[in-house]
Symmetry: C2
Subunit: 243 residues, 2 copies
């Protein structure tokens, strides 16, 4: 829910890693009007014929919107036009289940379906959560990042009770770790104390290659194969596959 | 609109600087359900009696919700409960002008009113924009940050035309500059080429003291008076005052 914690960075690197290293068939659904995970794979988001909004508004089947990035990676893209639909979609009956119903028609084709959410708990994030069995929570290692985690917990409780949907936490992922700073170490320790069994042991370091990779439309391990960013996301792929 | 670019960090440091250095009377309105700028000033956001939601739902006057941080700094706080009101508020007639009308009743008391927005263009951000004459746009120096700026431009055009509200850009502020990386320098240059007259000459550096300061409920220049983070935000205060 907090902005800029690495949701998109994690979604597209994890999607790519599951496909490239573990030969999983992966669908990445971008339900953030900013279209960042679509753009991170090089999809020209200012030029989309069909996108997630057409699925939610039932103008197209989800199958028609899929863009094949490579053999094992498909993306349902989004762009800013989706933002204009937030209020109309919030008014539709059954508005929380639009994505779930659409995904039901294609989920057999995939081993993993990842959904990249916007940084809020509006109708798009709620659609994503209702369509999912699990949620992976990246946390930025800072005071405000930790505060954001508390908001997410409250939001998840709300969803479990109000919408009667059992949501498991795949794991809490510490991101943007800067080993030279005390704040990173202290917040990481505080997370481990609170979420011991839920924490991924992988910690994503602050790494310029991670920041640069989307500008080349490739995951970090193609941009900088031997670097710490690449190693961290590969190690996350291993952990996710084995959970 | 992009998450994690420094909206909150800039809002509370600028508010504090205008008050402390330039003796301006400042109101900071937190209209982000995450309550981050409220929390950055040490307001206990999990324990609020009154907040911005009570103003938007017309259950309280904005005056009643004001918390005085020090002589010259007042805050209208928010917390996660505001998120539950997004859909009901979106259904109200005149929903885009709720904040503007509320602020009209107290704006004479202040030299500056700053509004910290959530990372999207939903009803809360639209209320903020409709209540404002100007918008300050922080941009994270990365590929995704630059992409976010393009989304903001489209959103502002939408607002100017659809809601017939002339919005000036106070300035575009480059944030989280890391001089050791090429991506920071290239994105900064690209911003300067596109927005030459609109760019603040101040560039906010990536600086751990900026990240730590909210955990002490103080602005960065009280946490680390002589540091680069403090100097950068002080220089931004000067630029804003002189525009
Ligand atoms: N480990 C990292 N090291 C360096 N930069 C990073 C790292 N993780 C993310 N970033 C950069 O930080 C910015 C925010 O990351 P990202 O966009 O993935 O977050 P997000 O949670 O998806 O944001 P939003 O809330 O806007 O959707 C991006 O510019 C990204 O490239
Ligand atoms: N110049 C900087 N140097 C180091 N850390 C920074 C800097 N600016 C912001 N941060 C940190 O980056 C994170 C995101 O910043 P901030 O919360 O101000 O962004 P935001 O745009 O308000 O995010 P959101 O979209 O969630 O509202 C915070 O943990 C903050 O402390
Ligand atoms: Mg994102
Ligand atoms: Mg913020």
């Amino acid at each position: 829910m907090k902005g800029g914690v690495g949701k998109t960075t994690t979604a597209y690197n994890l999607a790519a890693g599951l496909a490239d290293f573990c030969h999983q068939k992966v669908l990445l659904v971008d339900i953030d009007p900013q279209g960042n995970s679509s753009a991170s794979f090089g999809i020209p988001i200012w030029d989309l014929e069909l996108q997630i909004r057409d699925v939610l508004l039932r103008k197209a089947s989800i199958q028609d919107t899929v863009i094949s990035i490579r053999d094992n990676i498909d993306v349902v893209p989004s762009n800013i036009i989706l933002a204009e639909d937030e209020i109309p979609i919030s008014g539709l009956p059954g508005r929380e289940l639009l994505l779930r119903k659409a995904i039901a028609s294609i989920e057999d084709k995939y081993d993993y379906i990842l959904i990249d959410c916007p940084p809020n708990i509006g109708v798009f994030s709620i659609n994503a959560l209702m369509a999912s069995q699990e949620v992976l929570i990246p946390v930025d290692l800072s005071f405000l990042g930790l505060l954001g985690l508390r908001s997410i917990e409250k939001a998840l409780d709300l969803i479990r009770t109000a919408l009667d949907h059992p949501l498991k936490i795949t794991g809490v992922l510490a991101t943007r770790y800067d080993g030279r700073t005390n704040v990173s170490k202290e917040v990481l320790q505080s997370l481990k104390d609170t979420f011991s069994d839920k924490m991924f042991s992988t910690v994503i370091p602050e790494n310029v290659k991670i920041k640069e990779a989307p500008s080349f439309s490739i995951p970090v391990y193609q941009h900088d194969e031997k670097g710490v960013g690449a190693k961290a996301y590969s190690s996350l792929v291993q952990e996710v596959i084995c959970r």
